[in-house]
Every structure is written in C-alpha cells, then in structure tokens.
Symmetry: C2
C-alpha cells in the first residue's frame, strides 16, 4: 500500500503552529516540513537559524509561550553578562537557546551541512518528522527600506520592523541549491499534497520560492498545492505582513496572497472572517475552503491541519475525476 | 619621581589570589600581571582561556567562591540544554561565564589579538591593572601520561588529573612571541621586582618560561625576582602540583621549586610550616622569607603581597649596597 505523504512549507511562528497540527495527524514518513533559512544570520560568532529553531522547539514541545520565540523555561544570565562586557544585546539569546546555537555553529564548523545539523539536533530533542532547511547554501533576506537596505534581523528585531519597506532581496538564492531531500520528497510518487503554511509571504515563503526551480516544481507538481491565508480580516495574526502590504501599497487581503501564489496554487484556505472573499478566490481559479484559521489551542492547530488534508483530498479526487 | 612598578607571573586560582593582594597595594600603573595561556583551548567552537578568566573574575570581584573557578552567582541552563542536544559537557561553562567566552571568540575572529581582547573585556568589568597574556600566539600545554599525550584540559578537567604524569610539552612555545607589553614592562627602568605567584611550576609557570627569551630576561633583570612557594608542608593548596611531583619522582618540597627557578631567582617565600627548609633555600644562594602563605581571607592575600614587596625592597637595598 502506498502511504500518502505531504510537504509543508513554513516560516517561523504561524507556520510552526500548523506544522505542529500536521505532525499530530501524519506519521514521520508522511510529513516533511520545509523551512525558510533566509533569515539565518551570523551573530556573536554564532550561526543563528530563527525559523528552524522555532519549528524545532514547537515540534519538541519546547517553545516559549510567553515570548512566541525561543525556548520555554528560559533564563537570561548570558545576555546580562554579555551586556556587562559591552556586547551586542539587541538580539536576545536565552541561556538554553544558546545551547542550540553553539551546537549548530560547532557542527557546521566541523563540516556538516545545515540539513545534517538540523536533523541531528531535532533528533536529540525527540523530533521524528524531517525538518528540511530550504537549502544548505546561504541565502540572506534583505529589506529595502526608507533607512536603506537592511539585513533581515536588523530590520525585524533590532529596528522592530519600524522602517518603511519598499522591497526585498534574497541574496544568494540564485546560486543556492534546493535541499536535495526536498527534491526527493517532490519526486515521491506518493506525494499527496503541498501546504504553504500561514507565514509571511514576503520574508518567509518568497525566500523559499526564490530557490532555483522550486516554483516550477510546484507549478508542475502532480500533487495539489494549497495555502492557508496569513491575512485574516485584513490583519496578520503575528508579525509585519499587513504593515508591509500597506507600505508596498498592496491590498491587505487574503485574496492578494492567493493571487501572489496563483501560478502554482490549486486551493486556498480562508478564515471565517473572510467568508466574503470566497468568490474572489474562486474567480482566481482556485478551490477554496473557509474555516477557523486562528490557532490558539493545540486543538485549533490539529483542526486546521485536518482542514488542509481534507481540501487536498478533495482536490485529488477532482484531478482523478478529470483524468 | 619614579614610580616603582612590578610584574607578577601567574597561573590560575592560587596565583590570582596573590595578584589580587598585590592589586590592593599597587596602583594600575605599578602592577601588571602576566598570565599563562598554555591551557587555553578551543571547545564548542569557543576560545577558552581558563587562567585569564580566573584572573579577570578574581580582580573584578566576580570569582565563584563555591567552585574556585568561573563566575559567582552562576547558573547552568546552557549546559543542561547542551546535554539535551547530545553536546560535550565535560567542561562546565556557566551561563554568565559563557558570555566571556563568546565575546572573546567573536573579538578574536574579528582580528583583535588576545591581549587586546583581554584588555577590553577586563576593562569592561572595571579592572584597571593590566592583565597580560604571555603571548598573542597559541601555545598548547600537553601532558605525557600513562594514557598517552593528553591536551591539558583533557588531562586536567576531563580526566580529573588521574593519569600518571611523565612530562610536559608546550606546543608552539618556540615559535611564539612574548607579548610585547611584557617586554615593555621588563624594559621599564622603574621595574622594582618580579614575582612568581604560588602557581603550579609545571603547567602554570613553565609554559610562560618556555617563551623564547623570557628566562634570559629574568636572569639578566636588574630588578630582583622572587617566587612564592606553591608547596606548603609537602602539599599543594590546590591542584595537582604535588601529585605531579610524586609521579615525576621529584621531592615534594618548596626547596625543589626554588631550585627549579634558581638560575633567575633572587629570593623565595616559604610558608611558616616550612621554616625548617630556610637553610636549604639559603644554601641555594637565595634570600628567603618565612610567613603565612596560605591565603584564606582578603587580608591574607594583602599580607602576602606586602611580604613580597618587602622582600623585593630588601633585595633592592642589598643590590644598591653591593654596587
């Protein structure tokens, strides 16, 4: 019997919530999570991978519910001491979180790829589902702003998303190779669906889509591709998505996001609050499903994951009917 | 007026106690502390300098009275998390101590010398007396043992000094350059004395003496050179000095230590418990002074420092009389 398997594409917090829900419904050989590494950066001599760690901590049950990032039960003695030594403290690294960053940096320096390092560290925390960095090659998201071209973390953390955004670039993406494990999942004849998690389209999903060949692979995929809207009732649940849309003079609607992915998308999940947009989504030629997408509890995460799997099944049945 | 100035040569804990005492009696332009870097090593991708940090924490009033190493008020969340990630945990790095090691590693990677880094980090903790790494070039102490040739920290920390010692080497010492700031202090016409702190002769002082030219400089120094015995009543206050002596079939006496430095030494300070050895020291042609050398309180540290300065003054007066 062929086991259907799924690929989720995720940024940090919002995407990780849905990935967690999917991981509760699908076995480790049925789900891999592709993660943005465009906001990885070198800081204090350490290789920091914010989105990988958010996924790892979320899937390991170690995420920090108070901050929304980093590890739970965190302490900050390292940062306090670093401040006392005149070190840079704008990027908060908790004492426990630091272990992840030191271990990753050490393993990378010893010649392991980011994929290997991520698999080893996630495995040591008991995670069985593959978390696949989009590439083992460096890609750096940079943000064009009224204050000039900023490194992503400078824009996002240091400057608290305050500079007005006018565009993005993904330095290194053209020369980067898509993680071969992602290729293998895309080549799997049992691939039953691809899910774009409700992540920021500009700085979480677009860096992944910037990798050579990936967008074409999604367009040509035999398995249906769906996305969950990161915009709900004109707002983003978390992060600067809507602020960016406004600064870019883009309508802050779920419809714009669906259109942004339209070339490869088959279906789109809208929040209940956006029921009125359903005809617009369908006018784009996409199947749509309306449900509660705001994930507060674990049950919410699992319900939304189930809605994704259901929509993908509907799309597969439709494809079968047509062929 | 010419201000007399002094150079102390130190390893870790025992030496740092006397250095602290000296720092209470001498202004920042009167005292520099030369520190062993032979037990520096690279671990978890970090440049770790145990003796520098012991001196820095001691002079900054930040040393940990419970452990005898590391920072006070320390926590261990990083190590706990690292253990959970399958990392190496034999070398304990506290959360606050880690800030020092991360900051040092980052500054070294940016091209600063170890001297520059040490000055900046010590300065940020309010230390005014210069702490001078013996060299900016790498020197690695290795220990010949019954278990083979061991990196110093593997011998000292990982294997808890258990392997039987048969010798030492200071890899890199021949090619290393003595820290130019130490040269400048040695060249200072106001240099009034050099003090070897009560540190392990084999692995704290000998690595410093292994630097090209230093031993000759001490031998030829116009200023008197004295040492404080690290062996008291046949025991070492801390560390493996006497265990090493026994394994090397060396008499575990203060006299042996004085003899070990005899080519450049002018005076030697014995503990009260070793009063009986005074004639042996003098038979070596050295001035001697007997006092309490066991330093429990800050007052003990300052008293011993004063005894060192007094002995150096006696020796200087004697030199003046002779010339």
């Amino acid at each position: 019997m062929n086991i259907p398997c799924y690929l989720a594409i995720s940024g940090g917090v919002g995407g990780a919530k849905l990935a967690l829900g999917l991981s509760k419904l699908l076995a480790a050989d049925q789900l891999a999570i592709v993660v943005n590494t465009g906001d990885d950066f070198r800081h204090l001599g350490l290789h920091i991978s914010p989105d990988i760690d958010t996924l790892v901590y979320t899937l390991a049950g170690q995420s920090n519910p108070e901050t929304g990032w980093g590890r739970r039960d965190e302490s900050w003695h390292f940062m306090e001491a670093l401040a006392g030594l005149g070190g840079e403290t704008w990027f908060a690294l908790g004492d426990r979180d630091l272990a992840m960053n030191v271990a990753r940096t050490q393993r990378l320096a010893s010649g392991q790829t980011l994929s290997q390092v991520t698999a080893a560290l996630a495995g040591s925390l008991g995670i069985e589902h593959p978390i696949l960095p989009m590439s083992d090659d460096p890609v750096h998201t940079r943000v064009h702003t009224g204050k000039g071209l900023l490194e992503f973390q400078h824009y996002f953390v240091r400057d608290r998303c305050e500079p007005v955004v006018s565009g993005f670039e993904f330095d290194g993406a053209e020369a980067a190779e898509l993680n071969p494990e992602i290729e293998a999942w895309l080549d799997n004849p049992n691939l039953a669906g691809i899910i774009l998690c409700p992540s920021n389209p500009f700085v979480s999903i677009d860096p992944v889509l910037a990798l050579p060949g990936l967008r074409d692979r999604l367009r040509e995929s035999a398995a249906p591709v769906i996305a969950v809207s990161p915009v709900v009732g004109g707002s983003a649940i978390k992060g600067p998505t809507v602020k960016m849309m406004q600064e870019l003079s883009i309508p802050n609607t779920a419809t714009w996001v669906a259109d942004h992915y339209r070339d490869f998308l088959d279906g789109f999940i809208l929040d209940d609050q956006d029921l009125a947009l359903k005809p617009d989504i369908e006018a784009l030629g996409l199947a749509s499903h309306v449900t509660r997408t705001v994930m507060v509890t674990l049950e919410d995460r699992v319900s939304l994951a189930q809605a994704c799997l259901d929509l993908l099944q509907t799309l597969r049945e439709e494809l079968t009917r047509r062929s």
